[in-house]
């Protein structure tokens, strides 16, 4: 069992390493992707500068907390897209029979397929996140919590994408659903929790768990309570297990390249 885990981790390491090398082939594109992503994230500061010139707090957050929010969001999304890029193309992988090669290998199909390429611009997201935590307060405790939150959040984001992408095992062309869910996760997560009310707040802790991936970490870092950390870890475990469960359930319905849309 332990040996199997070790071997699996080594396979992930090699896969990511080779994917990274592939991206490095074009150094100019590599660098510009990263830089553009950093500028992209930085641009949005303008929006918040203007909003905070109107009001001192937005949704219960101070300006500094908004920066932390942006830091957490970019860092978590960065990790998820860098290491598990293919989790966000999983619908396509399933529909076009691209799981075949992983299914004949003695490793986890799910893990092998989602780690088979990396997103370079996500490095920009991660770097931006790190800059934000430094701006917010550069202490060992903050940095450690930030790392932990980033990893847990990323695992949840990836799990959500896997769960919704797995729908295509049953229903075929469902890109639109998984893409919508993934973009909802991003769109909401860069606004303070406090501006939303009612049912949407409930969604943030259930089917669109950005409450756990973003708002909870902001609370953990700016107002630490152990119970928050516990929620985060339990949430991560639940979503990861759910993702594996749904994916492997769907895999029984996998039809390789035999799924065709016949026109009559």
């Amino acid at each position: 069992m332990l040996m199997e885990v070790k071997n699996q981790i080594y396979a992930i390491y090699l896969s990511i390493k080779y994917a990274f090398q592939r991206e490095l082939l074009n150094k100019f594109t590599f660098l510009s992707n990263i830089i553009f992503m950093i500028i992209n994230n930085a641009c949005f500061i303008i929006q918040w500068v203007i909003l905070y010139s109107i009001k001192d707090e937005v949704g219960g957050y101070s300006f500094k907390q908004v920066l932390l929010l942006w830091g957490v969001a970019s860092f978590t999304f960065g990790i998820s897209r860098f290491f598990f890029k293919e989790a966000f193309n999983l619908t396509d992988t399933i529909n076009n029979g691209k799981l075949d090669n992983y299914l004949v290998q003695p490793k986890s199909v799910l893990i092998s397929s989602i780690t088979s390429s990396i997103e370079v611009s996500a490095i920009g997201d991660m770097l931006y996140g790190i800059v934000m935590i430094i701006v917010f307060g550069f202490t060992l405790k903050n940095v450690l919590l930030f790392l932990l939150c980033g990893i847990c959040g990323a695992l949840i984001i990836v799990s959500i994408s896997i769960i919704f992408s797995s729908l295509s095992f049953w229903f075929g062309k469902t890109e639109i659903i998984s893409e919508t869910v993934n973009s909802l996760m991003i769109n909401f997560s860069v606004y303070p929790e406090g501006i939303f009310t009612g049912i949407i707040r409930v969604m943030f802790y259930t089917i669109l768990p950005l409450g756990i991936t973003t708002y909870l970490p902001v609370r953990i870092i700016s107002d630490f309570k152990f119970i928050y950390l516990l929620y985060l870890i339990i949430g991560t475990i639940i979503f990861v297990l759910l993702a594996f469960f749904v994916f492997y359930r769907g895999l029984r319905k996998y039809s390789s390249t035999n799924l065709m849309n016949a026109r009559v």
Partner: protein, 326 residues
């Protein structure tokens, strides 16, 4: 000893039917209609250790679906599969250590890496210690004559070279059974021949059981001792190559274009299928007449162009059906 036993295997696919036009798309959204396609219908067979066996059949006959179920890619709807004592639906990972797969239309190699690095990657996937992988690569590199390009990135290799590397990659972990799905698809005849020779050599060297699919009859003719012909999801014929050759592959088709019109009549063993203007089409029964007999019949001086080919697979299959009806 049987290494593969398949009993009463079936697999259906649900295919969405889309009607034409905007109205049709809308309809299929609200109330999708499905067609059940029976890809594999109740097939049974078994394969012995060290055998080289071919699944042939036209496109969509169910040969790939069968292979995919045997390798654990697809879940069967009904039936039982036993591969080396393992059930692919339950022990996929365990099974993966003892089988190798090459899908002619799906590359598994990293194209920016050299074959050598790829092989090492696959070594790690199968948890093989580095020193053993290196030895194995050395051995396979000789067997498959990879010296020329083993250190060039895969993206710079020709299709034939890539397929050779794909096969080697699937042999790194010394599988007991090798599945080859359309390994020669898209290759030119010379390269096809090369691949066949290499596969044959490999089978001899390692006694690996080889199961391959193809829609090219000559692949099978040259490689396999046993053939399973599949059509419309069912096994039409499961026989030795010798029998098949004797009964069905003993005919050749000659297409000739002549300078001037010549008058021919059917002789015993040579049937005229078409005689239109300067174009002739003959079927030669090799049991009775040889190819040279047929060519002599045409005046060789007057041949503008000539093409000799096998009877198409579809025709062989329909002939087998006809025989079955009798």
């Amino acid at each position: 000893m049987a290494v593969i036993t398949v009993e009463k295997l079936s697999k259906n696919f649900k295919v969405k039917i889309k009607e034409k036009g905007f109205k049709g798309s809308l309809k299929s959204l609200i109330k999708p209609k499905y067609n059940i396609v029976k890809a594999v219908k109740n097939i049974s067979f078994s394969i012995e250790k060290g055998e080289m066996i071919a699944f042939i059949g036209p496109n969509g006959a169910g040969k790939s679906t069968s292979i995919k179920m045997m390798t654990g890619i697809l879940f069967p709807d009904k039936g039982k599969i036993d591969i080396l004592g393992l059930d692919p639906t339950k022990e996929r990972k365990k099974l993966a250590y003892s089988i190798g797969c090459v899908f002619g239309q799906k590359e598994q190699l990293w194209t920016h890496l050299t074959p050598y690095d790829n092989f090492k990657f696959f070594g790690a996937i199968y948890d093989i210690p580095e020193s053993i992988v290196e030895k194995k690569i050395e051995e396979l590199r000789e067997l498959f004559e990879l010296d020329e390009f083993i250190n060039n990135p895969v993206r710079n290799l020709s299709l034939g070279q890539r397929i050779r590397c794909e096969i080697v990659a699937s042999l790194i972990h010394e599988p007991k059974i090798l599945f080859l799905d359309e390994p020669t698809i898209g290759l030119d005849p010379v390269v096809k021949e090369k691949i066949r020779t290499l596969i044959k050599r490999m089978n001899k060297e390692y006694k690996t059981t080889v199961v391959l699919t193809s829609h090219d009859v000559s692949d099978i003719e040259k490689l396999c001792k046993r053939v399973i012909i599949v059509n419309k999801g069912q096994i039409v014929l499961d026989d030795t190559m010798e029998n098949l050759k004797y009964h069905y592959l003993n005919k050749k088709i000659i297409d000739a274009k002549m300078k001037e019109k010549i008058n021919l009549e059917d002789v015993d063993g040579i049937t005229i299928l078409k005689d239109k203007d300067y174009n002739l089409k003959l079927e030669v029964d090799l049991k009775k007449k040889s190819i040279s007999d047929a060519i002599n019949l045409l005046n060789t001086d007057k041949i503008v162009d000539i093409n000799i080919s096998n009877v198409p697979l579809e025709e062989i299959i329909s002939e087998i059906y006809k025989d079955g009806d009798k």
